[in-house]
Symmetry: C2
Subunit: 416 residues, 2 copies
Amino acid sequence: MRVEISMQVAEGQQIEVIEAGITVVRGIKTAGVHAGLKRKRRDLALIYSESPAVVVGTFTTNQVKAAPVLVTQARVRGRGVARAIVCNSGNANACNGPQGERDALAMGAAVAKELGLAEEDVLVASTGVIGMPLDMDKVRAGIAAAARELARGREAAAAAVEGIMTTDTVPKEVAVRFRIQGRDCYLAGMAKGSGMIHPNMATMLAFMATDCAVDKEALDRLFREVVSRTFNQVSVDGDTSTNDMALLMANGMAGNHPLTAADPEFPVFARALEYAASQLAKAIARDGEGASKLLEVKVEGASSDEAARTIARSIARSNLVKAAVFGEDANWGRILCAAGYAGIPFRPEGVNIYLGDLQVCEHGAALPFDEAVALEVLRQPEVLIRVTMSEGRGEGVAWGCDLTYDYVKINASYRT
Amino acid sequence: MRVEISMQVAEGQQIEVIEAGITVVRGIKTAGVHAGLKRKRRDLALIYSESPAVVVGTFTTNQVKAAPVLVTQARVRGRGVARAIVCNSGNANACNGPQGERDALAMGAAVAKELGLAEEDVLVASTGVIGMPLDMDKVRAGIAAAARELARGREAAAAAVEGIMTTDTVPKEVAVRFRIQGRDCYLAGMAKGSGMIHPNMATMLAFMATDCAVDKEALDRLFREVVSRTFNQVSVDGDTSTNDMALLMANGMAGNHPLTAADPEFPVFARALEYAASQLAKAIARDGEGASKLLEVKVEGASSDEAARTIARSIARSNLVKAAVFGEDANWGRILCAAGYAGIPFRPEGVNIYLGDLQVCEHGAALPFDEAVALEVLRQPEVLIRVTMSEGRGEGVAWGCDLTYDYVKINASYRT
């Protein structure tokens, strides 16, 4: 695994990337089973914390919110404590009217009963086809089987990850270790993505956990900030799903005194979370439906970080930029054009554009460049587009993928 | 040609659709030549009015505006009188720095010299690749040839239309006749579209002319309104180009007293313009890059007309909706989802969705429907999606096209 950021946070404060799943976090057990909502693969995941966990989350901004999003959002914003997350794939339980909400509540109730928990301690998520009622007999049987199979270790984590996948082609996991108050702490997570991926929580699901004890308010604020710089900067196709959510459970089982935002070690935790979330975000972009390349867009010198992020997203989601990356065509005019319609004022004559290290545009106009070098950059599985402006010091990154024949193929016949 | 709106405006007031090009308008001459900017086809068009014309226009909202847009916008918003429009294809003259503006001015100057006009009376437009300097020797020779070939009649109009095409596969023309103060008046236009097509003037160019005399302020206000309901409701790929513009010249050669907004016959003119603009807008959507189907999205019952138009655009531009239409898949959940992320509040339980006449969603939830009937609707070359809401009386229409393998193919290798 390529380590993309400096893991040295400060003198003696290391964040270590480890090959593990979410079960590396103390007290976290998982299971993934085949409930029968999908034809073959696992389609139901259960994540359980032995100790009550502080939970924070972000949810889709779509006006049309799936029933499990409404249920989980209410529980996270209410008591904000969780013991379990249940998630099915193959059916989004969205646009199912009042029955959808009854089914989402029933999913949580079934987990609570199996594990002896209060209903409010169970969070519910779904992903898959919109507008088809859940087969609750299959869901209940799947939950019972998952409850029996709950376990620690990589295999259990891998089974859970498979349970939340839809058109994902690879599982997405991340795990890091860091030290707080002299104790080893773990933070790990899993995610699914693929289609309907766009800022503001598209069917992107991310479930993360840490055994580090963190003050709830500090955790909530940090998580929102981190999501805005990571998951919300991923765009596969510009479609914001009805079902997105990102959840982070902190069960405190590392035994440290809860971190507050003022704690000198809080930045260590913050960096660990940002690293883990950005790895999952990039994994989602890299595995976008039909994608053959990861597209990373960095914008520097914008009027603010938010402006930079907005411009980076506009470029990363442009169909024309994405198709040019697929075609390995150094068509930088489309990049500048996509920056221009992001809705953020800037002076085009202050813009430089780089493909990898190769500058292709200077002061908003063409710069002669070696096409062979450009082709070499565009042939890589990860293509970096860097745009510098002369508006201020704002910077931001967005991730996307190329637009391919396979994207069209997958989405022309998803339901049938 | 299918007539889509009632041509009976009021008692005795008819708008007649005629098979003709822009040269049907009195005093309008055109030419289209091969200047050598493209390999084979015509790549330079000239439109000339024998009499000075009041001109109004709308322009791209992209922060990055091509040089000809800046030049033309200043002239339209300045004196607002025009005698000629020159447009080349094959090169957008965008992102070319100060040289770009010099070249755009020189294009206009060359036309002025050939035709004995003041420079400010010539409007300039370009479309094609971004970031490559114009070959001005070729442009000047092309302008000289076009000036010699200016003529009336369908052939001259067709040559001009070809001169503005890029990846367009069919020419786009419209012409109507109507009576004002007992006189026959004509209004006609041409347009190009294909890629980088999205609201707020994407590389969409539309040049329209009428011989009806109209008060400038009334014409300006009407044109903006009509553009917001027609050209700005077209989305091919969500990319708003650097080069868009829509221009309307009114040379008054019908000899009527100039119409004001208060004139009882003004609605006849307004209807003629709206019809002609909507026909061009639909032609652009139908001929979107790689498109196999025209997608028409109607939203009714929104909180306002603007809200309805915004929601309709969001649906028409959704990659997932477009791919489902290509795949003839009645995946209405994607339609509701795309409505939901348009940024306009509404209650999902008040939403009904129809494919053609077939209702597929009721109160925001699934309604059992006959898949064979749905397939029959989706197999047509024009697919109508109708969404009704319970928020108010706002309504709006947007046009798009399906997302196909050919879109990816065309855009993966446009430049090279």
